[in-house]
C-alpha cells in the first residue's frame, strides 16, 4: 500500500531513467559488450596514439643512419638497441614503423573521407531524383567497379604522377562507388518511409528533407562502411607504395619499406616482418572495429 500511495498520479509512471537514452548511447552499450570489437578499437587506438606521438615515442629519427663500430649499422638484427633491427641504410626500423603509422592512417582517413563526401553527394542525387540522373551516375559507378580497384588506382596515379598525395586522390576516387551505391540504396528505401511523407505534409523543402531527414538516417551504414574501407585504403596505400607509385623514398611508408627491403628477405627478414606486421594489425583493428560497429548500429539487431 505504501508503495502505491507514493505514486500519486497513476497516469504518470515514475521515471525509469534519469535521461532519455540517445541512439548513440545505445550503440555504445552494445559495442562495449563485443570483445572482438573492443580489441579492434584497442588496436586502432594503439596505432592512432603511436601516430600522434611519433616524435616522442620513436627512439631515433626516421632517416638517421646509425653508426656501429666499423661502418654504419646496416641490416643489424633486432637487439636491445634497435628493437626491430635496422635496414640497408642503417635506419632504425622501429622508428620508421612508428612514423609510418602517421602516413598510413592519415592517407586512409582522408582518402575515405573524400570518398564519403563525393560518394554521398552522388548517391543522394541518384537516389532522390532517380530517372536519367540515377541512370548516368549508377552506370558510372558500375564502370568503375568493373575495373580491379588497384588497377584503376595505378591508372589514376600514372596520369597524375607518383606521389603520396596522388595515391590518396586515387584511393579516394576508386572508393567513391562503394559509398555512392550504399547511400543511393539507403536514400531509395528511406524516401519511401512514412516520416518523409510526413515531413512533406508539413511543407518541408526537398533540400531540407534530403539533408535533415534522409542523410542523418544513413549515417550509421556510412560510418560502418567507412571504418571497413579505411582498412582497405591502408592496404591500397601500402600496395601503391610497394609498387613505387605512392610514397617515395625516403618517406617511412609501410609499403615503401616493404618494397625497399625486398632483396633482403632471406638474410634480414626483420626488414619486412615489422612493417608488414604493422599493416596487418592496423587493418585487423579497423576490420574488427567495423564489424563491431555494424552489429551495434544495425537497426535490425535492435528490438
Amino acid at each position: 500500500m505504501a508503495e502505491l500511495a507514493r505514486n500519486e498520479n497513476p497516469i504518470e509512471p515514475r521515471q525509469q531513467e534519469e535521461k532519455p537514452a540517445s541512439p548513440w548511447r545505445d550503440a555504445w552499450k552494445s559495442f562495449r559488450k563485443n570483445k572482438m570489437a573492443l580489441l579492434g578499437l584497442g588496436l586502432v587506438s594503439f596505432f592512432v596514439i603511436m601516430a600522434v606521438f611519433a616524435p616522442i615515442i620513436a627512439p631515433e629519427g626516421t632517416n638517421e643512419q646509425k653508426l656501429s663500430s666499423d661502418n654504419y649499422a646496416k641490416l643489424e638484427a633486432p637487439s636491445s638497441q634497435y628493437w626491430f633491427g635496422t635496414d640497408d641504410f642503417g635506419r632504425d626500423i622501429l622508428s620508421r614503423t612508428i612514423y609510418g603509422a602517421r602516413i598510413s592512417l592519415t592517407v586512409g582517413f582522408f582518402a575515405v573521407l573524400g570518398s564519403i563526401i563525393v560518394g554521398s553527394i552522388l548517391g543522394i542525387i541518384a537516389g532522390y531524383y532517380g530517372r536519367w540522373v540515377d541512370t548516368i551516375i549508377s552506370r558510372i559507378f558500375d564502370i568503375m567497379l568493373a575495373f580491379p580497384s588497384i588497377l584503376l588506382a595505378i591508372a589514376i596515379v600514372a596520369v597524375l604522377g607518383p606521389s603520396l598525395r596522388n595515391a590518396l586522390i586515387a584511393i579516394a576516387i576508386i572508393n567513391v562507388p562503394n559509398f555512392g551505391r550504399l547511400v543511393r540504396s539507403k536514400v531509395l528505401s528511406i524516401k519511401e518511409e512514412e516520416y518523409i511523407a510526413a515531413a512533406k505534409a508539413v511543407g518541408m523543402r526537398d533540400s531540407r528533407i534530403l539533408f535533415h531527414h534522409i542523410l542523418p538516417n544513413s549515417t550509421a551504414p556510412i560510418i560502418v562502411q567507412g571504418t571497413l574501407l579505411i582498412a582497405t585504403a591502408i592496404i591500397e596505400t601500402a600496395a601503391l607504395g610497394f609498387l613505387g607509385l605512392g610514397a617515395q623514398a625516403p618517406t617511412p611508408e609501410w609499403g615503401t619499406m616493404l618494397a625497399d627491403s625486398r632483396s633482403y628477405i632471406t638474410n634480414a627478414p626483420w626488414t619486412m616482418i615489422f612493417p608488414g606486421l604493422a599493416i596487418m594489425l592496423t587493418v585487423l583493428g579497423f576490420n574488427l572495429m567495423g564489424d563491431g560497429l555494424r552489429d551495434a548500429l544495425d537497426p535490425k539487431m535492435k528490438s
Binding site: P20, K200, A201, G203
Partner: protein
C-alpha cells in the same frame, strides 16, 4: 450555409504504369465545410488514400498525375498552385496524419526537435517561443509529462503516444483542414477510442475541419457528420451519418454496414460482400459494382450510373435509385 473550406470537383488522379493507365481516382466530388467532420469510407484500394494525397499535392509522380478536376481550398485551385505555394499550404492550412504512427516520426531526432522544426517552417519564431508552443500543443493532445517527452526519441514512445505526437505535429500550425488517413487502424481498440475522442475534442475546440479516411464504419459512426462512400475510384454514395446507417441506398453501402459485427444479434456467419474490389479501370462499361451486386440487372452492365440526388438530400450512383 457558409462556403466549403475545401471543395473537390471532378478530381481525376491517374497512374501511368507499364500496363496502361489506372484511374485510381475517377471523377470524385466532395466538399468539407468549416468545422465539419467528413468521413471517406471504402475498402482497400478504392482510391481514398490517393484522394487525400491529391489534396496535399503529394501524389507520387511519376507514375501518378492529377489529370483533371479542381481542388478548391477557399476558392484557390490547388491543382494549379506552384510548389512554393503548396509548401506554404501543407502543414499551415491543410495538415495530414498518417496511418502508421510507428514509422511517421523520424527515428534520429528527438520529439521536441521535430515539433519545433514543424513550427518554425511556417513561423519566424525563435527557438524558445517554438519550444513553448510545442509543449502547449503536446499538453493539448493529452500527452503527460510534455516537457520530458520533448527530449525523448520516437522509439521510446508507445503507438498511442506517437499518434498523439503526430496529431500534435499536424495541429501545431492550426490548419483549417486536417486529413486523417486511417489514424486509428494501427492502434489497439482502447487507444483507438482515446484518439477518436481527442480528434472530436480538437474539432470542437479549434473548429478545424477533419477529413477522416477509414475503412472502419465504427470510426465513422463515432466521429463523422457526413459520409462519402468510395468504390473503385468513384464516389458511389454521399449522405449524412444518420441516413447512411438507417437507410443505406447503394447495395455496396448496405453490404458494408451488414459486414460490421453486431454485438446485439447472434449470427452464425458474418455477412461478407462476395468477390473483391476490381482493379481500377478494369471495368469501363456499366456500374463498377455490378459483378458483385446481388441486385444487378441488365442496365447495370451496359450503362454507367451517375451520382443522383435523392429526396432526403443524399446522393447515390445506382440504377436502383434512378428517378
Amino acid at each position: 450555409m457558409d462556403a466549403p473550406v475545401l471543395d473537390v470537383k471532378g478530381l481525376k488522379t491517374y497512374f501511368f504504369t507499364d500496363d496502361g493507365e489506372v484511374p485510381a481516382v475517377d471523377n470524385v466530388d466532395f466538399h468539407v465545410k468549416r468545422g465539419e467532420v467528413l468521413g471517406i469510407v471504402g475498402e482497400s484500394g478504392c482510391g481514398k488514400s490517393v484522394t487525400s494525397l491529391s489534396v496535399m499535392g503529394l501524389v507520387p509522380s511519376p507514375p501518378g498525375k492529377i489529370v483533371g478536376g479542381e481542388i478548391l481550398y477557399k476558392g484557390e485551385d490547388l491543382t494549379k498552385a506552384t510548389d512554393r505555394r503548396m509548401r506554404q499550404i501543407r502543414g499551415n492550412d491543410i495538415a495530414m496524419i498518417f496511418q502508421e504512427p510507428m514509422t511517421s516520426l523520424n527515428p534520429v531526432y528527438r520529439i521536441g526537435n521535430q515539433l519545433i522544426e514543424a513550427i518554425r517552417l511556417h513561423n519566424s519564431w525563435n527557438k524558445k517561443k517554438a519550444w513553448n508552443r510545442a509543449v502547449e500543443i503536446m499538453k493539448l493532445v493529452g500527452l503527460p509529462r510534455a516537457e520530458e517527452l520533448m527530449d525523448s526519441y520516437p522509439h521510446q514512445l508507445s503507438g498511442g503516444m506517437r499518434q498523439r505526437v503526430m496529431i500534435a505535429m499536424a495541429m501545431v500550425c492550426e490548419p483549417e483542414v486536417l486529413i486523417a488517413d486511417e489514424p486509428t487502424t494501427a492502434l489497439d481498440v482502447t487507444i483507438q477510442a482515446q484518439i477518436l475522442d481527442l480528434m472530436k475534442r480538437l474539432n470542437k475546440e479549434t473548429d478545424t475541419s477533419i477529413i477522416m479516411i477509414t475503412h472502419d464504419l465504427g470510426v465513422v459512426a463515432e466521429i463523422c457528420e457526413r459520409i462519402v462512400v468510395m468504390y473503385a475510384g468513384k464516389v458511389i454514395e454521399e449522405s449524412d451519418v444518420q441516413t447512411i446507417f438507417k437507410k443505406p441506398k447503394h447495395p455496396y453501402t448496405v453490404g458494408l454496414i451488414q459486414s460490421v459485427p453486431d454485438m446485439r444479434q447472434k449470427k452464425d456467419r458474418l455477412y461478407s460482400i462476395p468477390g473483391t474490389v476490381p482493379k481500377p479501370g478494369s471495368i469501363t462499361q456499366g456500374c463498377p459494382f455490378a459483378p458483385r451486386c446481388e441486385h444487378a440487372f441488365d442496365r447495370c452492365i451496359t450503362d454507367t450510373p451517375q451520382l443522383e440526388e435523392q429526396e432526403d438530400g443524399s446522393r447515390v450512383r445506382c440504377w436502383l435509385h434512378d428517378r
